[in-house]
């Protein structure tokens, strides 16, 4: 049952929250929308913070999802620099850091995730940075430049993107990774091998399998990173990029089920019919893979925002999308579709030496995931095949003389 006049309160004015407000209006929702965010600026895109924006190829205007006037013009009360501090589901109110209480008919959690901290001595030194917000990115950019030495803790996507951008700005980048390969949690070893070689050839250095025990400084500013084996790595700044933690504390305190994120159904709804959750903060069903999972990507945030807006406005249900992600490093475009759950075979199409290849993860004759480097056809066709569950012929898939349009078994 939908009520187009319902008052919708959205907690978190990030990518999911901002998109939710826009999709509600697109879906014809007429009731008031209150969008509450603790950052000083309105919803913006984070992906460029480690890529185009960091390299100086995009300005703040182009990061903003909407012009500032859009919110007031569309009956959306955007409260910035304000934190939601309490939720009372009984009387359907939210308490804010300003002391104000806001009532809702429908509540949407879009509180995202925060950068994971490294709880070691020296973590509060100046120059020990993280990258989640535009403000973080400003601080990082200020620390980069010709000849500057950046130590990057964690060889995940954000770390590698920053390494590539730092090189483009003439800075030195050294990636320190606890695992024995980079991208260990998010990509297959073929991809790790390729990316580390590509980065090394462009001047990024790596230490794998190392543990960091302290940040050491002089005059309150970081000077070196101390490793467990006693070695010290000199640097001018250190970026900690070791993953993100969902901002689900408020939901947990209010008795909503959380398992590494707020548990929602395919409608992005929690067990409380008046409370939805979208984006990085959710633990959501993945119907293609028969399980619940937490995704951290813009496409996921947009999909859930659109789904929730449609449910609230009483629109017909949407077909679930295939999860996907991209990353830009140097002149490489990595596009990933699907997730490699339950895969039994890894198949490489193309030659990594040419910097144009794709890794397919198969379960029998079905594609579960594809990781495509500079290979849009493999990504686009792979994504379709993951979605429609059509069987492929592994032999044909491995053969680059057979076009992607002809790999169906």
């Amino acid at each position: 049952m939908s009520d187009l006049k319902a008052k919708v309160v959205i907690l978190g004015a990030g990518h999911a929250g901002g998109a939710m407000a826009a999709f509600l209006r697109q879906a014809g929702h007429e009731g008031p929308i209150v969008l509450i965010g603790d950052e000083p600026i309105g919803p913006y895109q984070r992906p460029p913070l480690s890529k185009a924006w960091l390299k100086g190829e995009a300005d703040a205007d182009s990061l903003a999802l909407k012009d500032p006037a859009w919110y007031a013009d569309n009956g959306c009360d955007l409260k910035l620099g304000v934190r939601a501090t309490g939720l009372n589901r009984g009387d359907k109110t939210v308490t804010l850091s300003t002391g104000e209480t806001v009532s809702y008919d429908i509540l949407v959690f879009a509180t995202g995730a925060r950068a994971r901290k490294l709880p070691i001595p020296g973590a509060d030194l100046q120059g020990v940075l993280e990258l989640r917000t535009a403000a973080d990115a400003e601080a990082l950019k200020a620390a980069l430049g010709e000849g500057k030495r950046l130590a990057i803790i964690g060889g995940g996507y954000v770390g590698l993107e920053v390494a590539a951008s730092a090189r483009a700005l003439g800075a030195h980048a050294m990636v320190l990774e606890r695992e024995t390969r980079i991208l260990a949690r998010v990509a297959c070893s073929q991809l790790s091998d390729f990316f580390i070689a590509y980065h090394k050839a462009r001047g990024v250095s790596f230490e794998l399998g190392v543990e960091i025990t302290a940040f050491e400084g002089e005059g309150g500013h970081i000077r070196r990173v101390r490793l467990a084996d006693g070695r010290a790595i000199d640097c001018d700044a250190a970026l900690v990029g070791i993953g993100a933690i969902p901002n689900d504390d408020l939901a947990k305190d209010a008795g909503l089920e959380c398992v590494n994120g707020i548990v929602v159904d395919l409608d992005a709804r929690t067990a409380d019919p008046d409370v939805f959750a979208i984006g990085d903060v959710t633990h959501r069903p993945l119907p293609l893979y028969d399980r619940q999972f937490r995704l951290e990507s813009v496409p996921n945030a947009l999909e859930q925002a659109k789904v929730a807006a449609g449910v609230i406005a009483g629109k017909p249900p949407l077909t679930p999308e295939v999860p996907w992600f991209w990353s830009d490093q140097f002149d490489l475009k990595l596009q990933i579709a699907g997730l490699p759950f339950d895969a039994d075979t890894i198949l490489v199409r193309g030659d990594p030496a040419t910097a144009k290849f794709a890794v397919f993860h198969l379960k029998g004759d079905q594609i579960q995931a594809v990781e495509a480097v500079n290979s849009p056809p493999e990504f686009m066709m792979g994504k379709q095949l993951i979605g429609n569950r059509k069987a492929v012929s592994p032999e044909r898939l491995a053969d680059t003389t057979v076009s992607m349009k002809e790999v169906i078994a």
């Binding site: 826009a22 697109q26 813009v298 996907w324 686009m380 992607m404």
Partner: protein, 106 residues
């Protein structure tokens, strides 16, 4: 500034003024025109900003890069006048541009 008209698949028209320098995709997102998803925010990585460019403007929207060409090759319902709108920069010359949107971007 250029006036751009986005026509949804069901015929609904949205005429908006878009700053030169932005992309045709950004013009749609900033003005909340439904039907352009732009999952990747203009990185030419998603093909969810697909539009059909009106014949009168086909010569004015610039050349497709190899990347765009390749993405479009595998998008759905592609026509000869298909473009990824994040790859079209708005110029004064595009004042009056009309683009039509496909039924779905996914």
């Amino acid at each position: 500034m250029a006036k751009i008209t986005y026509i949804e698949h069901d015929g609904t028209e949205h005429s908006v003024d878009v700053k030169t320098g932005l992309s045709v995709m950004e013009g749609a997102i900033k003005n909340n025109v439904p039907g352009i998803d732009a999952d990747c925010g203009g990185a030419c990585a998603c093909a969810t900003c697909h539009v059909y460019v009106d014949a009168a403007f086909e010569g004015k929207t610039g050349e497709k890069s190899a990347m765009e060409e390749s993405m479009l090759d595998f998008a759905e319902n592609v026509e000869p006048n298909s473009r990824l709108s994040c790859q079209i920069k708005v110029t004064d010359e595009l004042d009056g541009l009309i683009v039509r949107l496909p039924e779905s971007q996914h």
